[in-house]
């Protein structure tokens, strides 16, 4: 079969050119023909469970699932008929018979595909009683909540957890039904990546929400509330508010957060520049000492994975704190000192593309003078919800500039949001540190892009630095196998638990798929490209803070570094 062979089919009397090998659903989606469905996700293998995407095919008996039926030349497809409508409505009604008919916790912006479908099809809810009322609620760390009474057994979460190489979510037979349950195996634990959340069509899996606490803090007149937002948010949150994928909304986002009542808005990208400085230093040191690989540690899911599944690699993890933690620490020390504010009265709120970041801020070893560097983490979706709730329309809002001093950042600090960004930023700075000269060409295109594993060898001063960049935990496990055989295979390894890096994070807007991830990432690189300062070490605020504040080993250690320790299972069932 020729893979790119063009064929023509007919959908609803319309001739459509498509490529052999595609499914009916894929062609329909590309052509904006609406076919409902719950279990299909382009990141995952086709399961064809929900039976909502049924269509008719001329001269073939019965109904056919469009997600699992491949197109054939001259195929004539009908996507709406009384028969199709009847099947969809009854199946949807049956789904709802295992789901609460109303959801008190329904929060606009947090995305429930199922409720939208139910509304659209105006399905009956009076014929069957809910069979799942007594199903339990599970909590995975401070990050994810699984209300199994809302689960419709589509199994996307099980598949994505398996794809992540974790297999924490399992299927178990209980009371005659195979149900999704967290594993009881003490050798398995959730790494809080939240991919189950972004692949759940019903809101059964959700981030544990903290926006209520943040609203209270804003109301509290004794508190100075300082927000920071991660690099990737500026190219993703626009989607939730009706803008095209990859829309760059940095200054509107700042204005929106200000309107919520934030006292200051700083940029996590500034924190990322500090991370770059420290991490470049660690990389150089490890190369000199011969203790490579140096493995990134910005991704809290990855760190948890190493601590739980591969503690033997702990000494390879960069001790450099993640950008949000360094920035939070600086806000409560450097900035508090400067502004003469008691750091106890500062509440730092991070807007993150991630649910594992909620876990990261709870780590005791990060505390500075008994204070958490960051008090609350909200996901992109939670912030969207706050915008909707407080009637803040990003499309209309007047843009505002970032606050300073902790808002000035380099382009390198922005590309942290895409897989490869951390290594690229570190290399730009490491090059300077090693050679004392600046790179003439800043882009390391080999480490960019959506591929799960990217490998490159970079020559600096006649020395080859071997690099692996990984996104998606399943891919990380492949690299681990490689270094198990040959520990010196790479000098630097960047790992992000989610596909595409933070732009595909578990706290990001839904839907998230490969095309959307790509657009979000491209916009980050565009921001970098257009920035005057594209190197962390050229960022004036970095220079100033190192000069005025981070001027001793002890201080640098206190604010910018941490430690890791082997972990036992944390999730209790």
């Amino acid at each position: 079969m020729n893979k790119n062979k063009k064929i023509q089919i007919i959908i609803d009397n319309k001739k459509i050119d498509c490529i052999e090998g595609q499914t009916i659903l894929e062609v329909a989606m590309e052509n904006k023909i609406d076919i409902p469905g719950l279990c299909f996700h382009s990141d995952l293998d086709i399961k064809s469970n929900c039976r909502l995407c049924m269509v008719e095919i001329k001269d073939r008996k019965g109904l056919h699932a469009s997600c699992s039926t491949k197109i054939e030349p001259e195929m004539e497809i009908i996507t709406d008929s009384p028969k199709i409508k009847r099947a969809r409505e009854i199946n949807l009604e049956l789904v709802f018979a295992q789901h609460p008919k109303e959801d008190k916790n329904y929060t606009p912006g947090l995305n429930y595909h199922l409720l939208e479908l139910a509304k659209k099809y105006n399905i009956r809810t009076d014929r069957f009683s809910n069979r799942k009322t007594t199903c339990p609620i599970y909590k995975f760390g401070p990050s994810v909540v699984f209300d199994s009474s809302k689960c419709i057994d589509c199994r996307n979460c099980v598949d994505v957890c398996e794809k992540q190489g974790i297999g924490f979510l399992e299927i178990e037979k209980k009371d005659h039904f195979f149900q999704v349950v967290p594993s009881k195996d003490e050798n398995k634990d959730c790494i809080y990546c939240g991919q189950c959340v972004v692949h759940c069509p019903t809101g059964a899996l959700m981030a544990i929400e903290d926006f209520g606490e943040v609203e209270k803090a804003i109301q509290d007149k004794n508190k100075i509330v300082v927000f920071q937002f991660a690099p990737s948010i500026r190219t993703s949150i626009g989607e939730e508010l009706g803008m095209p994928y990859g829309s760059i909304v940095t200054e509107k986002l700042i204005a929106g957060i200000k309107k919520l009542g934030a006292d200051k808005v700083f940029d996590t990208s500034t924190g990322a520049d500090f991370t770059t400085m420290e991490e470049a230093g660690e990389l150089i040191k490890k190369i000199e000492e011969g203790t490579t690989p140096c493995i990134t540690s910005c991704c809290p899911s990855w760190v948890k994975f190493v601590e739980f599944y591969h503690p033997e690699l702990i000494h390879n993890l960069a001790t450099t704190r993640s950008p949000q933690i360094i920035l939070g620490g600086l806000i409560k020390t450097y900035w508090a000192e400067k502004e003469n504010i008691d750091p106890k009265n500062i509440i730092v709120v991070s807007i993150m593309p991630c649910v594992a970041k909620k876990y990261e801020i709870e780590r005791k070893e990060l505390e500075i003078d008994n204070l958490k560097p960051v008090d609350y983490v909200l996901t992109t979706r939670e912030l969207t919800h706050l915008f909707i709730k407080h009637k803040i329309d990003l499309k209309k809002i007047e843009p505002q500039k970032i606050d300073n001093p902790l808002g000035t950042h380099s382009g390198a600090g922005v590309i942290y949001g895409a897989s490869g960004g951390v290594v690229e930023s570190a290399l730009r700075t490491a090059y300077k540190k090693i050679t004392k000269t600046e790179l003439t060409k800043l882009e390391f295109k080999q480490v960019r892009g959506m591929e799960g594993i990217k490998k490159a060898t970079i020559e600096i001063n006649g020395k080859s630095i071997k690099i692996a960049v990984v996104n998606g935990m399943g891919n990380a496990k492949k690299i681990l196998k490689e270094i198990e055989k040959n520990p010196k295979l790479y000098d630097a390894i960047e790992v992000m638990a989610c596909d595409g890096g933070c732009i595909g994070g578990g706290g990001q807007p839904m839907p998230t798929d490969s095309k959307i991830r790509k657009q979000r990432a491209e916009s980050l690189y565009q921001i970098d490209n257009e920035k005057e300062i594209r190197l962390a070490h050229k960022n004036p605020i970095i220079k100033k803070v190192y000069q005025d504040f981070l001027n001793s080993k002890e201080k640098i250690h206190l604010i910018c570094h941490t430690k890791y320790s082997p972990k036992k299972r944390e999730t209790k069932i």
């Binding site: 039976r51 049924m54 019965g62 699992s68 009854i90 199946n91 014929r127 195979f178």
Partner: protein, 327 residues
């Protein structure tokens, strides 16, 4: 025994699969033989998991030589192949020794079935052997294109292999095996011409009741319900006839038995089968049938279930309700 032209012979004899789906055997063999692949598999399905059906067990007990001979013919016909004899737990216990002796050093692995009814469905068998969760696969690709470990795989019922051996020896008389039980007078397995009608089978085996009755034919769960005046037809599905004394049969317990079995045995993968079956069970247990709801559930089960198990839920229940329950 000349097996060179076996596929032609299968076609000439118009042999159809005896697992219940009636797919032309010669065509299936041809597809697996002709597709190019480094490795191919043959699976003999003797997992017989439907209650009250026992003709496969009878064949294993009485004609194991023919069965193994049929598998060997497949091994010789299909290049680069090895075989599994996939067999229910009960039959494994009973016939393991005899079968192992017959298999000898041939590349045939005797494999005990894990799981229940669904584990007998051909794509589910592939999942079982690969050590995965027992669920049917999306078709196409069919096992003959991509089955076990993604290799072309020939899956036939144990009786089909028996027939292949008979055809190879020119001893095939176009017969098939029928298990008869229930309220039948002369329970057992009978080998009779494949074109016999149900009434003729019952009469020739002296099983035509002298009381008011109905039968379930083609399977002890998914088989269809037929009244005495509907028996002038051949069996659809697997070779089984269960006779019920109409007066003495509690129809709701009968339906409850089926539906409990289905709830327990289905894989819960697709919505119509998982939820539809459960909702039918609710009504049957309460003995309160809402015909409109039932009709809706039958509709999605038959029209939108993922596999044949779900598609087959409706038929026997519909039969009881429309033909036997007088309201």
């Amino acid at each position: 025994m000349n097996i060179k032209n076996i596929i032609t012979k299968l076609e000439e004899n118009n042999l159809k699969g005896r697992g219940g789906a009636n797919f032309p055997t010669g065509l299936k063999w041809k597809m697996v033989k002709e597709i190019k692949a480094e490795k191919k598999y043959i699976i003999c399905n003797a997992s017989e998991g439907e209650p009250d059906v026992f003709k496969d067990g009878f064949i294993l007990e009485n004609y194991p030589e023919e069965v193994i001979s049929g598998i060997k013919i497949a091994l010789e016909t299909i290049d680069n192949s090895s075989a599994y004899l996939y067999i229910s737990k009960d039959y494994y216990r009973k016939f393991k020794k005899d079968l192992e002796k017959l298999i000898g050093k041939h590349p045939i692995t005797l494999l005990k079935k894990t799981g229940g009814y669904l584990a007998g469905e051909e794509t589910s068998i592939c999942e079982v052997i690969e050590g995965k969760r027992i669920e049917p696969r999306i078709r196409p690709p069919f096992p003959s294109q991509s089955g076990l470990w993604h290799c072309p795989t020939l899956i036939n019922n144990v009786e089909t292999f028996y027939c292949v051996a008979k055809i190879a020896k020119n001893e095939y008389n176009k017969t098939r095996f029928y298990s008869i039980n229930g309220d039948a007078e002369n329970e057992g397995v009978y080998e009779l011409p494949e074109d016999y009608s149900i009434s003729r089978i019952l009469k020739e085996t002296k099983n035509w009741p002298d009381f008011d009755f109905f039968v379930q034919s083609g399977g002890g769960i998914a088989g269809e319900i037929l009244l005495p005046n509907e028996l002038d037809q051949m069996i659809k599905g697997t070779g089984s006839i269960i006779v019920f004394n109409r007066k003495q049969t509690d129809l709701f317990s009968l339906m409850e038995k089926w539906i409990n079995f289905l709830i327990e045995e289905n894989c819960d993968k697709c919505i119509p089968c998982r939820e539809g079956t459960y909702r039918i069970a609710e009504m049957i247990k309460k003995k309160k049938i809402d015909k409109k709801i039932l009709d809706d559930l039958f509709f999605v089960l038959e029209e939108s279930s993922f596999c044949a198990l779900g598609k087959g839920v409706a038929s026997p229940i519909r039969g009881v309700i429309t033909k036997l329950l007088n309201e």
